[in-house]
Symmetry: C3
Amino acid sequence: MTGGIAARLEELGLSLPDVAAPVAAYVPAVWHGDLVWTSGQLPIVDGELVATGLVADPALVPAAGSAAAGPAGSGARAGSGVAPELVSPDRAAELARICALNALAAVRSVIGDLDRLERVVKLVGFVASHPTFTGQPRVVDGASRLLGEVLGDAGRHARSAVGVAVLPLNSPVEIELVAAVR
Amino acid sequence: MTGGIAARLEELGLSLPDVAAPVAAYVPAVWHGDLVWTSGQLPIVDGELVATGLVADPALVPAAGSAAAGPAGSGARAGSGVAPELVSPDRAAELARICALNALAAVRSVIGDLDRLERVVKLVGFVASHPTFTGQPRVVDGASRLLGEVLGDAGRHARSAVGVAVLPLNSPVEIELVAAVR
Amino acid sequence: MTGGIAARLEELGLSLPDVAAPVAAYVPAVWHGDLVWTSGQLPIVDGELVATGLVADPALVPAAGSAAAGPAGSGARAGSGVAPELVSPDRAAELARICALNALAAVRSVIGDLDRLERVVKLVGFVASHPTFTGQPRVVDGASRLLGEVLGDAGRHARSAVGVAVLPLNSPVEIELVAAVR
């Protein structure tokens, strides 16, 4: 029998992905005591990273791929010979939402039933950021809001949002969390 | 009745700020079991971020705002058209101290009385860094020393210091911590 | 009497370093409850950082120090007047392995006997990354694999790998972990 959180996900039109079998000396999540620690989650859907690049202020994003993107590219990705892809904060917030869903899936992979999830304790959001982009909280809000929608008060967490130079596979966002379970 | 840590803060001429009410799906700190996890803290005083920019070696900082800052700016903030503000390590250590005070305030907001704080377990310091700046430990020492001054042995923690590209609101420093409480 | 993990380390030809006495208001590791939290570990051997620089795609690394490194240097380290040193992913994975050994040494420094280590719960790997380098997982695998070799199933952890602008002392890699002990 599925519990309240599974029903809530369905009501929101959301479904959690299956979690890929571990291919390395690390795993999607570890349950120890009453805490579950997830690995960093990327915005992967059906096994594919759905976007790449650096998050930038909206004014810079339309210029991506055009000549106007040259100066940004030459500074942020010097030596690559390729202008970096730029991602808007709104799009990045959607990606953070996907990361949060994947984090819930990682938690479920070790506890079985998400109704055992008592509280999301901490979330860290890493945002691959263009050097002038300082709106990381707005991006990570995509993850925080998803947790609130699905989990209600149990989704209210402590959080850090930081801007980093580059993330694995050129992902724009990576989210990790620690959850308390009963 | 206020306890020993409140008295110690007063003796040091320090006061903890009130913690702003949460405006999003996250909170300043979460208490679960005997651990309190804080959100990432910025050097905010009376609701205002007190400095912005990247931390850089002292030799680079006096040039900020002058023509000599151009090359640094054009590389570190290419595409912005504005040279980045640079912050000295000493100033950044003061900012880290403010972050640590704010982190204690966040802990207090959930445990009520700081005398319940048994030990700071872990601290992570993110330093928004000019690409040539490698003195992150010296910056984060500002937070570590504050905890030692206020808490004595209970303030001795494990710590990571990393240099990142950019932080929320263009803050030079962000500090998060995990504390054990009784 | 030394236990199974000490024997396993010897079998692998590995030895854990002594941990330097704390010189600041932080310590190599903190043990609270059944968790040990380490400080961020650098690839230090006999007190010396064994490599510096940014991790970059192999195609870029041979050019380090030659004229071809100029453009990369001028973008990634603008204002420094010095081309950054570049480190290959394979070399960086070796460095991550050293960091993981140092993390085990930090854990041992507080629990005494590594056979008390029940499980590595979480590992975070920070990789100082050239702006075009997106292979952070491959680097951090160096740490994850070492833990698997030494600890077996107890070494299988949740993990985050992120790329950062610069690390303390210009280290290419920094690793922190949380371990459960009994």
